[in-house]
Symmetry: D2
Subunit: 100 residues, 4 copies
């Protein structure tokens, strides 16, 4: 199980807004069974590596369906083998530290 953050950035769009493209990419994710959490900087995915990579590829491809000729997709994968990482678990462990 990995927790990964993805951003998809279309290059050469009419204006500076990205929400239409991010929305389309998230619709693709809804069709996959990858759990996700939307943040103001990207989308955090939780799942097995292959599922996550498949979801990222589909998000990446969906942007080209919107008359875009170039896409830069960034992905940061956090993978831990001594315990299973989850979206909630990672936040919780830092919150606890702040309370100490």
């Amino acid at each position: 199980m990995v927790v990964a953050e993805v951003t998809v950035i279309p290059i050469g769009t009419e204006g500076p807004s990205l929400s239409k493209y991010v929305g389309k990419a998230l619709e693709k994710l809804e069709e996959s069974n990858v759990k996700y959490d939307l943040t103001s900087s990207g989308t955090i995915l939780e799942g097995e590596m292959d599922e996550v990579l498949k979801g990222v590829k589909e998000m990446h491809e969906s942007v080209f369906d919107e008359d875009v000729l170039r896409v830069v997709t960034t992905l940061q994968i956090d993978d831990r083998r001594d315990k299973s990482l989850t979206i909630e678990g990672k936040k919780e462990s830092v919150r606890k530290r702040l309370e100490d």
Copy 2:
């Protein structure tokens, strides 16, 4: 006003846990007047560019106070000049798209 996401990763720590280091870095941020939002993949900052860069540098330095010899800090800055970006505003604009 920019919205930026930062992750600080110490290299050469005793074990695989990062929460102690992230907790220390967030304590530094609390002392600055940069608004932030903790996610499971990083910390999202909202503020003027100079304030944000100062906050990131302090977060980065704080990890060295924990007997760490190497730190990799990643920062993604989103800066828009036709309207002011905020942590909440960016999430809201994508949520609206998903409702359409």
Copy 3:
């Protein structure tokens, strides 16, 4: 064809050096037919999306073979559909600009 940059960072290693782990990851890449270029910040890959994702996954996995319990892998994919991106082509287009 995409051009992508990957960094693999092991968490919880004995010391601050990463070259052993990067070396192992590059050995995996040598076995795949993905073209690559080593830089001082990461490894740049050139190939079809699926080949590149497969190469990245193998690089990521190879670090766990070195008694590491956690790995953070970062990937930035640049994908252009109006012309084929290559490692050399991307550098060349910026160099030309600098000469103008």
Copy 4:
């Protein structure tokens, strides 16, 4: 001394080409005394943290001079305190590993 990689991505440009913007950003860097190395995925900087952050901010700002309303700048800083990191040194240490 840190070694950092920066990419500047303009959002809402006429077409998918980025070389004009990267070229302008590099011109700014030439004016600063930060050593740099151009790769096909970004620009690698070598210098003191404050110099590097100043150089990155100037590169980021230079893109707005080209009638761009939004810029996403990504920075990955590698900072080691037991020995001084350099662009050449980092590549050399991995090359040696590959030869072993």
